[in-house]
């Protein structure tokens, strides 16, 4: 027992003599958050957008709730280049989906305030609530309806999208910022409604087509990560 006590006492002495391991420390901040956001580099933004959609010449309009995914790079103090993807739900009777993707060169107007101008692809998948125009049971080929006073019953199609956006960002930290934006866009869509018929000789689907023009004004908020 005495030997054990001595060994225990020695062990305690040794343990007491060993200094405790220091805690691991991370680096102090090497730049301010604003300096960090002023640097060039990759950015990712996730946002929400509410838009008022106006259809030209009887094309269906309404409100749209969209999710925005934006990614790109700040090139220098003035220029950035971003790509944006937008997926929106159109609620109500004319239910459907509005989608779009654009390349947006972005110009910094003043600190935190930017202007983007972009072009890309936009489209719809929606029902209009209108009865499908019946061009005749023996329609031999697809038909393009130029008169939009009689809408297609549904639209599945894509076209050209042009967009302008002004955005202001607040810096939250070295890696996060957020801010509001307002944007305006125009979209020209080639809508298609399949009639469920096929030309048995060529295999081509027989469908109705219609071109729609839309303008939209949007308000949104985006969280950015660098």
């Amino acid at each position: 027992v005495e030997v054990r006590a001595v060994i225990t006492a020695l062990a305690l002495l040794v343990l007491a003599a060993v200094p405790p391991e220091p805690e691991f420390e991370a680096s102090l901040e090497t730049e301010t958050p604003e300096e960090g956001w002023a640097r060039s580099g990759f950015r990712l933004g996730l946002g929400y957008e509410y838009e008022g959609l106006i259809g030209v010449d009887n094309a269906p309009g309404g409100s749209v709730h969209s999710v925005l995914l934006r990614a790109g790079a700040k090139i220098d103090d003035v220029w950035s280049l971003f790509g944006s993807l937008r997926y929106g739900v159109i609620p109500g009777e004319r239910a459907g989906l509005r989608f779009g993707g654009a390349i947006e060169p972005t110009f910094q107007l003043v600190d935190g305030l930017t202007l983007s101008l972009g072009v890309g692809v936009g489209g719809f998948i929606l029902t209009t609530g209108a009865a499908t125009p019946e061009p005749g049971a023996t329609t031999p080929a697809s038909v393009t309806l130029t008169d939009t006073t009689r809408l297609l019953g549904s639209c599945s199609g894509a076209g050209v999208l042009a967009i302008a956006r002004v955005e202001y960002l607040f810096v939250l930290s070295g890696v996060l910022s957020m801010g509001p934006h307002v944007s305006a866009d125009g979209q020209w869509t080639r809508c298609v409604e399949a009639l469920g018929r096929t030309d048995p000789d060529t295999g081509e689907a027989i469908e109705l087509r219609q071109f729609w023009e839309h303008h939209a004004l949007s308000l949104g908020w985006t969280f950015w990560w660098r």
Binding site: E21, P22, E25, A26, G41, T132, S154, A158, A194, G196
Partner: protein, 823 residues
Amino acid sequence: VALTIAALLLIVGQDPVATATTTLIPPRAISSTTIAYPGAAIVPGLEIEVVVRMRVDERGDVKSVELDRGVGEPFDSTVLAAVARFRFAPATYGGQPVPVDLRYTARFTPPPLALAPVVRPGVITGRLRERGTRFPVPYASVSAGNLETLSDEQGNFRLEVTPGAFAVEITLSGFLRFVQQETVGEGEELAVAYLVERAGNNPYEVLVVGERVRAEVSRTTIRGKELTQVAGTFGDPFRVVNTLPGVSTMMSLLPFPVVRGSSPGNTGFLIDGVRVPLLFHLLAGPSVVHPALIESIDFMPGGFPVDYGGYTGGIVDGKTRPARSDEIAYDVDLNFFQTGGLVRHPLPLPGLTGTLSGRVGYPGLLISLASPNISLSYWDYQARIDGGDRRFGYSLFAFGANDGLDTLPDGAQEGSPLEPFLQLTFHRVDLRSWHDDGAVHGDYQLTFGYDDSLSQDDAKLSSLSVTARGRLAFTLTPALVLTVGFDGLIKQGSFTASTMGAGTIGELLGTGGEPESSLYTTGLIAELVLTPTERWSIRPGVRVDVYMDGKSAHAGVDPRVLARYALDDDLWLKASVGLYHQPPRFAIPVPGLDQVAFDKGLLEATQASIGAELALDGGFSIDVQTYFNWMDPILFDVQFNPSVEDILNDPPVALPGQAPNMLPSNTDDVEDRLDRLLQPATGRSYGFEMLLRRQSADGISGWLSYTLSRSERLRDGGWSAFDFDRTHILNLVLQMPLPRRWQLGFRAQMQTGRPLTTTAGLSSTRASTFVRFDVRIDKTAVWNDWLLDFYVDVSNTVLAAEELQPGTDVRYVLPTLGFRAMF
């Protein structure tokens, strides 16, 4: 006072052409090179650098001195005067004294005038670890004021410092600058521990770029971030196969590959050599094994060696990563569709490490938003124990999965509880052992399996199986390796149904109306690997498989030869030819529904290919192949297209606003189409494949794959295109690591539309070409003890329309947002 001699050294007046034996020995200072600080100019804390250029002649005298970069007086003149007085032992070149130009940097640091003679320095000792992973950070520069040292291999350092408060700065290429404020008293020693953050790639996801294994003719191996960070795959390793040459799909949402124009059921999906009866959850979902368990995937579109039996299409072989004996890892992931986790830890028994992983999928939550009458769910699990080492080791690997589809019962009111419509389940337990003494390598597996599929009508398919597999490779001489092996399977299946089991369905299942079925297979293989010279590698082999179900027996004898020849170190020619047999399998893998209709006999294919692969600079490589496959007979061929007669008798017309059905509504026609699955067919496919690939651990990596192909079936007396033949298939996959641990992934896919039948003939036209773009963005955020990977993956970003058949376009987008934490 400090003086640094910099590195510029030029030979003057000497023939610049050096021979292999000539070496330049720089001049050596034989006088003091210390330059005193100009006392009157001392500015506390100000460090001064003056750069001069001098010529030292063949006698070692300084002949001229010029100011290269000055800072002004009195430093410039002090340096010029002092350097002019330097004396050197002359430089020699090939043993002869030569004049040289030298560039000198004189660095002045204010001398600690008052303290230097009396103050004892402090000492700072520390450990550098990588933030997030705690890996040591070796060879980092650690500086305090004008004092500097490097960390050692273990990331430890020791630095004498001037007592007081000072900033410690750590710099290392590939890491963010580290700064910390410290205070050390006179004669004191301060112990510190710093976490330094990596600036670039996630070290857990590095791409291992190694020498290509030149064994099989058509094997492509993908690993590392190529497995889990390819855009449009949701991080699923097995979906990456769809971007490789020779692969198309029935439709882009379905991941089952159509390999070189064969039905998906003819391609083997293996995990460590074990056949997986249900590779993708719910047919279109993620694969059934946690991605973190997969180390690599070998894809062979054809021409695979005798090691693989029972398939006439391609092989997709996932290799799991054995755990190290001391490995500890925790991994949790969460996204819109599923939640998963992995725990890996040494076990109390010495030398053993255990791994437990699994996932629960809830895609039904999202789907129910659109359709409340359908619910989808799935789960899978994996448990593994690893022991031993490369010379002798063993593992136990258990894995399984379940898929469930619930629907509203017929006649039930909206909002009524959903009832199970389909349940698919399988379990596997795989025991494995290996040994390697350099001359003999042995690998043995014993696998137990249970499959169970249950449908709404109480139709139930279940089976129990035991599979044994053994391989012995003898290195007889350095140029000759003999491999022999054995494959065996005993399977007992049962089938119960209240409304099915007779007629075509019963024939399809091969039950003949009987509730029990048995299958016994035995396979023997023998293969030689001959390397008569360094340039040649020839692998002749044969495998013999015998299949019995108690009523009939069928045998397949498969001779195969694979050969490679190196034209030089970077260019290989390769070729293969062989015979392949397999039992009939249902078109899409379903647990309990593989190896059906056995009485129809074995399927057979003859495969031949020839190609070349070339290693290029910059991590690039290119692989080209041409192939020809003859398939006779084929069963369970996925053929949806109607015949010309069908078109004439039943024009593809539906009511306005409705798409025509994929399958005819007429019951007799449905039976006809099912009958067609059981009619032996003959097919052929041929084409050209190209894979241009770049592998890089820290740069842009990816590949461009292109396939020009034709797959045909003999039908109605002539050759017509297979229903899912694609003339052109193009995939571009890019992965770009960016600063601050971002990674950008991009995938573009283009494939020709599938053939369609018109009155002009079978497969006489095609659906529209499909082009889609996928994007994936990964960001790894770093905490002190763990990493958080955030990712966004969007498939078919702009909802490009895919035409399945005339009038049936599908537009979809699959966005996923997820997190993965790694401890």
